[in-house]
C-alpha cells in the first residue's frame, strides 16, 4: 500500500478484500444453507465494492460495468433462481453434513490463505499493477477456500455456493489484473453464472426428487471396484 498512487482507495480496497476473505471463510464454516447463501451475497457485494473502488481509481468504465453485472446476477438473480429451483433446501433450517469439523476446516483454510500469498508473490513482483498486490492474493485465497468448501461439504447447494465463491474469487482477482476486459466478455461471463446456478439448481431438484436426498457426497455407486 505504501507508495501506491491512491493511498485512500488502496486502504479501502484492502479493507474490502479482508472482509471478502472473511466471508469466504464464513462460507467454509457456516452450518446452515441460508447463512452460506447470505454470506455469498455479502461477498458479491464486497466484490462489487472493490470493482467500484478500482473503477474510480483507474477511471475505467469497464469496472463499473462489472459492478452493475455483479449486483444484477449475483445478488439478485442467484437468490431468485435458488428460491425457484431448490427453495426447500435453502430455506429449511438444518445443519449441513460435512466431512471435517469446523475448527479443523478453519485451520486448513488459514493454511490455504498463506499458500495463496506464497504462490501469487512472484506474479505481483513481476509486474507493477496498482491494486494487484491486494486483489490477486485475496482472490486466489477465495478460490482456494471455495474449492475447499466443495471438498468438505457433502450437499448439493453448499457445493454450488462453493463453486460460485470460486467464481467470485476469480473476478476479485480479475478486476485488478484486467481492468479493461472487453465488455462483451464480461457480459458473457455474467450469463455464465446464472446458467451454472440454474443447471445445478435443477439438477439438485432432480436428484432430490429421484433419491430423496441432496447429500451428493453420499452418492458412491460409481467407482472402480
Amino acid at each position: 500500500m505504501n507508495g501506491s498512487p491512491y493511498p485512500v482507495i488502496a486502504a479501502l480496497d484492502a479493507l474490502t478484500g479482508a472482509l471478502f476473505l472473511l466471508t469466504a471463510l464464513g462460507v467454509v464454516a457456516t452450518r446452515q444453507v441460508l447463512a452460506s447463501l447470505q454470506l455469498f451475497i455479502v461477498q458479491s457485494l464486497l466484490l462489487t465494492l472493490s470493482a467500484v473502488l478500482l473503477g474510480i481509481a483507474l477511471e475505467s468504465i469497464h469496472l463499473f460495468a462489472v459492478a452493475v453485472i455483479t449486483i444484477g446476477t449475483k445478488t439478485l438473480m442467484i437468490p431468485w433462481l435458488l428460491r425457484h429451483t431448490v427453495s426447500s433446501e435453502v430455506y429449511r433450517t438444518r445443519e449441513i453434513q460435512r466431512v471435517l469439523n469446523i475448527p479443523t476446516s478453519l485451520l486448513l483454510s488459514a493454511v490455504l490463505i498463506v499458500l495463496a500469498y506464497v504462490i501469487t508473490n512472484p506474479l505481483i513482483g513481476a509486474v507493477e499493477v496498482p491494486f494487484a498486490a491486494i486483489n490477486l492474493p485475496l482472490g486466489v485465497a477465495a478460490i482456494f477456500l471455495g474449492a475447499f468448501t466443495i471438498v468438505v461439504r457433502r450437499e448439493a447447494v453448499p457445493q454450488l455456493l462453493g463453486l460460485l465463491a470460486v467464481e467470485n474469487g476469480v473476478f476479485f482477482a480479475g478486476v485488478a489484473i484486467v481492468p479493461s476486459l472487453p465488455v462483451i466478455a464480461e457480459l458473457a461471463a455474467a450469463v455464465d453464472v446464472p446458467v451454472i446456478t440454474l443447471v445445478m439448481g435443477l439438477l439438485t431438484r432432480q436428484i432430490h426428487r429421484r433419491l430423496g436426498t441432496t447429500s451428493v457426497g453420499e452418492l458412491a455407486a460409481l467407482r472402480e471396484h
Binding site: 500500500m1 493511498p7 479482508a18 472482509l19 472473511l22 469446523i102 478453519l106 485451520l107 488459514a110
Partner: protein, 317 residues
Amino acid sequence: MLERIAYNLLQVFVLVAFAPLIEGVVSRLKEILQSKRGPSIFQPYRDIWKLLHKDEIVSDHSSWIFRFAPYVAFAAPVFVALLIPVLTRYPLFFAFMGDMLGGGFVLALGGFFATLAAVDTANPYGPMGASRTRMVGFLAEPVFIVVFLTVSFVAGSTIPYIVQTRWVTPIANFFEPSHVLLMIAFLMLILAEDGRIPVDSPSGQFELAMIDRSKSLEYSGRGAALMKWAGAMKFMVLTIIFLNVLVTPWGLAPEGSGLAGVLIAIPLVLLKIFGFILVLVYIESSLAKLRLFRITEFLGAAFVTSVVAMITRLSEI
C-alpha cells in the same frame, strides 16, 4: 511526578468506582431490549454493599487459597489499570512496570486463583465451571498471542501507549484490513473471556450450564462482594484496552493538558464504553448461547480471523 502518580491513582479510582455501574447499565439495557423494565443501573452497587455487610461462611474443608483468591482477583484488574491508558494518552507513573503482555499475565493470574479456589471447595459445580473456564482459556490463548504479536509487529512495540497512536496516524491506517480483522478477533475474545453470549450466559442461574460464574458460587459475604466487583472490573479493563488501544484512541487527555484534561477524559471514556455496550448488548441479544462443544468453533473462527489479520499484515497489504 507527583501529578502523574495522582493521575495514575485516579485511573484506578475510575475503574473501581465505575465498574459496577457499567455492569448495571449492561443488564438494564439487556432487559429493556427484551421489553422488560429491569433493575436500576445502580443495582450492582447495592448488591456489593449488601454482600459486604453479610456474614461470610467458609467451608471447613477449604484451604487458604479459597480465602485468598477474592483479593487476588480484585487486585489483578486494579494493577492492570496502572499500566494501560485509561484516561491519558501519555504513560503515567507506573506504566513502566509492564506492557500489554504483562497486563495479560496479571489478568490471567486473577483468573488462575479464581479457578484454584473453585476447585478448592469440592463443590461439584465449582470444578466443573473451572475446567470449562480453562477450556475456553486454552482456546483463547492462541488468539491472544496472535493478536498481540500482530499488534506489536504493526506498531513495533508492545507498549499500549505507542500502539494506540499507530492506528490513527494517518487516519487511512484505521481501515487497514489487519486492523479491522484484529478488532473483530479481539471483540470475539472479549465475549469469550468475560463469559458473554454466545460463549456463556452471564445472567444464567442454571448451575449445570454455567461456565464463568459457577466459580464464585461458594462465596458469601465479603468474598462474594469482591468476586462480583472483580468480575465487573475485569470486563471494564478489557473494554478499555479494546477501545483505547485498538478501536478508538480518541478523547484521552493529551500530554500537558493537566488535571482538567484528565477530568474531561473521564466522561468521554465512559461515553465510549457506553457506545461499546450498546453494540455488545445488541450482539448478546441477537445470538443464542452456543453448546459447550461449539465454543471451539467460535474461538476457532476468532483464531483464523487473527491469523488472517497477521497474514495480510506480513504480506504488506
